[in-house]
């Protein structure tokens, strides 16, 4: 067994794992946005919930990231912001990961 090679691989794996975690946290942080005086995260759960509620009502109330209720008066615009923020941030995360694929 080549211990040197193993160590090198392990070091690289640690670098990649750390960079991925920091990049993912950055991505999640950038998903936060203010809407109607409340804070929301443009994650899959909020997008799915909004899309579901939107198909049943023209206006509805959901909880923000700190579990405070917020009236969504314009679900169409809200969903647009969610999708845009979500894709912006996840694309950024993907770009970071793509750099490591070459390594």
């Amino acid at each position: 067994m080549d211990i040197g090679k193993l160590k090198e691989y392990s070091n690289l794996a640690q670098d990649i794992a750390l960079t991925k975690k920091n990049a993912l946290e950055k991505c999640k942080s950038r998903q936060i946005f203010a809407y109607n005086n409340r804070l929301f995260r443009a994650d899959a759960q909020t997008i799915t919930l909004t899309n579901t509620l939107k198909s049943h009502a023209t206006t509805f109330v959901i909880l923000d990231v700190n579990e405070n209720p917020c009236q969504i008066e314009d679900p169409e615009t809200f969903l647009k912001i969610l999708l845009q923020k979500n894709q912006e941030t996840i694309n950024g995360y993907q770009q970071v990961l793509d750099k490591f694929k070459q390594k």
Partner: protein
């Protein structure tokens, strides 16, 4: 509604905090583009008077210390409790001068109706989770590094409570079994929030963790887009992400 940044800066014999302030100020100018007010003492002011900021000169309390790289060093952190009075703005971002913005992410928190927001979670960017020890107190910690507050009755109550806690810190330290002997704003704000919320857990925080580099790790390079840091025998990079840097020697980098 006026918006701005409030910073506190007091040089000590060990640390030229004004050098940190200059770096912090440059980052704010680039990313946040908001007016800055610096609370400082006469001696430190002489080193920073060229900055395009408003200055508030005070006589700072001394006597507090903090543990830094194997020794206790002077730490002038007692004035932050007066931030509500010192801030000339309706909406303020109060931040430590060793917190560096590499984005405009903080701005969005102005657009909410929260009276105040601060972090309750932290991320050690070296991945070691070495920032917070176990059993440091019986209440959940908050981080006073960045506090976004509005001039409202509730915010004033928060700062009044922190003043009271600072004045009677040994009592509150015993009450909440805070391990650290020195005065820390993090714990003072944690106690104040706990008490103001009727001793029930509070959930109104900045929803993402604060990125932090422990004081054991060195900054190798710092430019206006990010930092290059050393951890173990490796080199890490963090870009376009706001970060709290505890290494104080890097100001000479």
């Amino acid at each position: 509604m006026t918006k701005g940044i409030l910073l506190y800066c007091f040089d000590t014999e060990q640390t030229q905090y004004h050098l940190l302030l200059k770096k912090c100020f440059n980052q704010i100018e680039k990313y946040l583009k908001l007016p800055v007010t610096v609370v400082t003492n006469q001696q430190t002011y002489l080193n920073i008077k060229d900055l395009k900021a408003n200055f508030c000169i005070v006589e700072n309390k001394s006597g507090n210390t903090r543990f830094y790289r194997g020794q206790n060093v002077p730490w002038h952190n007692m004035e932050r409790v007066n931030a509500y009075d010192h801030s000339p703005y309706d909406q303020t971002i109060l931040m430590d001068i060793d917190y560096f913005v590499f984005s405009n992410e903080l701005i969005k928190y102005f657009d909410t109706d929260y009276d105040y927001l601060l972090h309750d979670k932290v991320r050690d960017i070296t991945g070691k989770n070495s920032i917070l020890g176990k059993n440091e107190s019986t209440l959940p910690i908050v981080w006073a590094t960045v506090i976004i507050f509005k001039k409202t009755e509730k915010s004033q109550l928060l700062f009044d409570a922190v003043k009271l806690i600072q004045k009677n810190y040994s009592h509150y330290r015993n009450l909440y079994r805070i391990k650290h002997r020195n005065y820390r704003n993090d714990f003072a704000f944690a106690v104040a929030i706990h008490q103001l919320n009727g001793m029930i857990d509070n959930k109104n925080f900045i929803p993402n963790p604060m990125f932090m580099l422990p004081h054991e790790q060195d900054i190798l390079e710092f430019d206006d887009t990010g930092v290059l840091f050393k951890y173990d025998k490796k080199i890490g990079i963090l870009q376009e992400t706001d970060v709290h840097i505890l290494d104080k020697e890097f100001v000479n980098v």
